[in-house]
Amino acid sequence: MEERPKRIILTDEQKRRRRARSIAIALALGALAVLFYVVTLVKGPAVLNRPL
């Protein structure tokens, strides 16, 4: 009989931490999107001008 591959089973604490990490990453990405949107509004067409 073929043996099924072992799967990693997270504990409740690990699941809670993974959820907290996921929320933190989502918030950071959301904030980044808002930041780029606002800066684009502020700079207007000049947003493509990126001098040294």
Partner: protein, 272 residues
């Protein structure tokens, strides 16, 4: 961190020209995140030292709350985002300076100088002195003498500040085999160096006024703050084991006054 953000803000504010508040906020945010990234990478590399020092033993990696590999990945991602966003939204020259600052702090100070020479925080202090230049460059797009003077002030302030702290924690540093000045040269030499650096800092702190970049109010404030720091350094130099109870307090006052004097020096008003 607060000193990094504050000095970067000073660099933004004293620079000629106008920077939109949103762009200024973005620049400060990126500098703060970059400083955080450097701190994470420092804690990743120095986890072995942190574990044996009382002051740092409660940090997340020595305590096992965060795995070293995860900290490394987090630090690299933070650094990449800070530099990338600063370059895309503000200035690529400022971004390059931020990248160099993170590299200098992690590779030059943390990985090389810290465990090798008692001059570690003298040279490594440059990393903490870059933020006002980055702030200036974010506004003007170029480097000039004014932010370099701010760099010089923080660069020369860092050694007496950290030596005063390391005097109190000398046993910690000795246990971790970190060659801080009190460990290598003894407390007497450290006290002497603190006083010498504090005296040297007085004209350097007033340099923006001496060069004509700042108002007289700034010059007077800088001289008074510098004199205060020299007075505290003199107390640290003179007080010995017999008055051991007051020494840590004096050293603490020296650190606080040095931070205040450094901050007040940064607050200059431009000559019209």
């Amino acid at each position: 961190m607060s000193l990094v953000v504050f000095t970067a803000l000073v660099g933004v504010m004293i620079a000629p020209g106008h920077l939109h508040p949103v762009i200024g906020f973005t620049a400060l945010l990126c500098i703060a995140v970059g400083a955080g990234a450097a701190g994470v990478l420092n804690m990743w590399y120095d986890a072995d030292i942190d574990a044996v020092m009382r002051r740092t033993s409660a940090r997340p990696i020595p305590q096992g709350r965060i795995a070293p590999g995860e900290a490394l990945a987090f630090g690299i991602v933070l650094a990449a985002f800070a530099v990338g966003v600063l370059g895309l939204l503000v200035s690529w020259l400022a971004a390059a300076l931020l990248a160099f600052t993170i590299f200098f702090y992690v590779a030059v100070y943390t990985a090389w100088l810290k465990r090798w020479t008692p001059q570690n925080i003298v040279i490594g202090g440059a990393a903490g002195a870059f933020p006002p230049i980055i702030g200036w460059v974010a506004t003007t797009g170029s480097i000039s003498l004014e932010p370099c003077l701010l760099f010089l002030i923080i660069f020369c302030w860092t050694p007496p500040h950290f030596w005063s702290l390391s005097l109190v924690r000398a046993d910690d540093y000795a246990r971790a085999r970190v060659p801080m000045l009190p460990v290598v040269a003894g407390p007497e030499e450290t006290r002497r160096q603190i006083l010498l650096y504090s005296i040297g800092l007085v004209p350097i702190g007033a340099a923006p006024w001496l060069f004509g970049y700042a108002h007289t109010i700034y010059g007077v404030t800088a001289f008074l703050a510098g004199a205060l720091m020299v007075a505290f350094a003199w107390r640290v130099r003179c007080e010995r084991e017999g008055s051991a109870l007051s020494v840590p307090r004096t050293i603490s006052s020296l650190s606080q006054s040095s931070i205040c004097s450094s901050s007040s020096r940064c607050c200059w008003s431009r000559v019209a």
